[in-house]
């Protein structure tokens, strides 16, 4: 038992800690040992064992005193996008090398206030721009799953690839992720875990390195739906430091998990049926609908007519916001500054610093964003994309107004692919990974990926449920019902 503490769910660990079956210190040591032995996955990129041990000791004192919130003593991995005081926070970019924030992000502060333990910082795509964790300055993350006996390294997805791999490989009990176009849900699906993107505004964005401010949202990446409910409750809440954070009461998400979805209406959007969709995913989707029907939900066909325009709209809006947000990396206030030649002035400093500090994908998106915002193109690209975004949100508003409670879709158009296999593809091919998830960000809705089956190579596949704004409790309950029916229990065989 003691040697397997790192494999527990948050709920089981919470119950065991409260019962005195083991201590937070023992739980943390089990995770630190697992992290030490998993260098081959390249998931943890900054290790904080000293902080973890201090936090675990404090958690043990709190549990002993009988004052223990659910997350007390739970060892987590933190995505490198979150600023953590005094601990490197680089957004996996060379331009933030050496940056140690003087402050703590609201989400991590909330988790620490609840007693959570930080094991270290997790790898990701640079500035959260990527779908395969291949754009990181720390190098690729490797998916703990393999295709049968094939030893080829697979992507864990992205951008929260380190978070996904770390949870799937039992290095931590759960991890924070962020999701701008699918960066929690796609990697969760690729490694067989649960990932929840909350409603825009549910979690504070303060202290999270910004990518596209109107789309970014933090959320939990966990072993199961119950753990997502527990962890979301600790992460979210109103924050005066983020003007877009919602001043709404935080429900008890875990208490909503009755598993009873009788009378709920689940929509199946016809526009998500894509040409060339793998048969395994088509079948998984149909099976998922059957499971929800068997649980007493009503399944209805719905139409979200502007779905096909979501990715092109996203690839205007997200780069536009990124070009503005990333203007702050100028070599003046923090991070990298290029070595200058004799006679170089401030413009050369900016240009050389940004050329050296940003990777190729980040440079590409900053420049696309600059172009679509530039004089003469602002209306043709940026304003048009924002109008299409309005239409995409109206699609969802209409189906919810017609009584749909949640929408069921595949999480990804494929299972995890081989690292490097997209190296020669044009950038648009990689963007297609987010085809089922990006609409949710554009409409600001909550979405959750739940592992639901394996493909013919034994790789996990996920389904996505999309909920009404602020309806995470109801969405989690529907996901809980789906999870129970799917009964996904597979784990990757340890090779690392």
């Amino acid at each position: 038992m003691m040697s397997d503490l790192n494999k527990l769910t948050i709920a089981a660990a919470r119950d065991g800690l409260r019962a005195g079956d083991f201590t937070a210190t023992e739980l943390t040591e089990a995770c630190l040992t697992a992290v030490e032995g998993a260098g081959a996955l390249n998931a943890f990129v900054h290790h904080t064992p000293d902080i973890a041990r201090q936090q675990a000791a404090a958690a043990d004192a709190r549990i002993g005193a009988g004052d223990a919130p659910a997350m007390c003593g739970i060892p987590l991995g933190i995505k490198d996008l979150f600023c953590t005081k005094g601990v490197p926070s680089q957004a996996a970019s060379a331009i933030l090398k050496g940056f140690r924030p003087e402050y703590e992000s609201t989400v991590t502060q909330n988790l620490f206030d609840a007693g959570a333990v930080m094991l270290g910082k997790l790898n990701m795509d640079e500035f959260a721009m990527g779908s395969s964790n291949e754009t990181s300055t720390y190098g690729n993350v490797v998916n703990p799953w393999r295709r049968g006996t094939d030893t080829a390294d697979l992507t864990p997805g992205g951008s929260s690839g380190g978070s996904a791999a770390a949870v799937a490989a039992d290095l931590c009990l759960a991890a924070t992720g962020t999701d701008t176009g699918g960066s929690i849900r796609q990697p969760a699906a690729f490694v067989g875990i649960t990932g929840l993107k909350p409603t825009y505004g549910r979690c504070s964005r303060w202290g999270i390195v910004a990518f596209a401010s109107s789309l970014d949202q933090a959320g939990p990446m966990t072993r199961d739906v119950r753990d997502s409910a527990i962890m979301l409750g600790a992460m979210c809440g109103h924050d005066p430091k983020d003007s877009t954070s919602a001043d709404l009461p935080v429900p008890d998400f875990e208490a909503a998990l009755s598993g009873d979805i009788r009378g709920k209406t689940i929509g199946i959007p016809r526009e998500y049926r894509m040409d060339g969709m793998p048969a395994a995913i088509e079948k998984l989707w149909a099976d998922g609908a059957d499971m929800l029907r068997d649980a007493g939900a009503k399944i209805v066909d719905i139409s979200l007519p502007h779905t096909k325009y979501a990715l092109p709209a996203y690839y205007v809006i997200a780069p536009a916001e990124a070009s503005s947000n990333l203007a702050r990396y100028d070599g003046v206030r923090f991070g990298h500054r290029a070595k200058l030649a004799q006679g170089d002035g401030i413009t050369e400093m900016y240009e050389k610093t940004r050329a050296e500090g940003f990777g190729k994908e980040v440079q590409r998106r900053v420049m696309i964003g600059t172009y679509v915002l530039s004089a003469g193109f602002y209306d043709a690209y940026y304003n048009r994309a924002r109008k299409v975004r309005t239409l995409i949100k109206q699609d969802f508003d209409s189906v919810f107004a017609e009584g749909v409670d949640a929408i069921l879709t595949p999480a990804t158009p494929s299972a995890a692919f081989e690292l490097g296999s997209m190296a020669d593809a044009d950038p648009v091919q990689m963007y297609l990974n987010d085809v089922f998830t990006v609409t949710v960000n554009l409409a600001g809705l909550p979405g959750i990926a739940v592992p639901a089956g394996l493909d013919k190579d034994g790789l996990p596949l996920g389904l996505q449920l999309i909920g009404r704004p602020w309806g995470e409790a109801d969405l989690l309950n529907t996901a809980f019902s789906l999870e129970r029916a799917a009964g996904f229990m597979a784990k990757p065989a340890k090779w690392w």
Partner: protein, 95 residues
């Protein structure tokens, strides 16, 4: 709309990213691929549609117009590549 190397160079300049002239043709090609993908938006009828400014309609909160923060010079300069005498230092801006 097709982007040539001169436009690619202009965009790189606006973005303050140094791009080697030899890399401009490939960069222009990538821009064209992405913009070609984005052009699909032209097929949507957006007549009379308001551009989205906020995904959840909400009034921004107000607070009293008072200083709530400050006196953190050391913390603010702590991560600067070059800080001197309480200031950020940069190469000469004017002759």
């Amino acid at each position: 709309m097709s982007i040539d190397t001169a436009t690619a160079a202009k965009v790189a300049k606006l973005a303050r990213i140094k791009v080697d002239p030899d890399d401009l043709p490939a960069l222009a090609q990538e821009f064209n691929t992405i913009l070609g993908f984005i052009e699909q938006l032209n097929a949507v009828d957006v007549t009379g549609v308001e551009p989205m400014t906020s995904v959840t309609p909400q009034r921004l909160k107000r607070r009293d117009d008072v200083v709530t923060d400050g006196n953190q010079q050391k913390a603010i300069l702590a991560n600067a590549p070059d800080a001197r005498e309480g200031f950020f230092a940069v190469p000469k801006v004017m002759e």
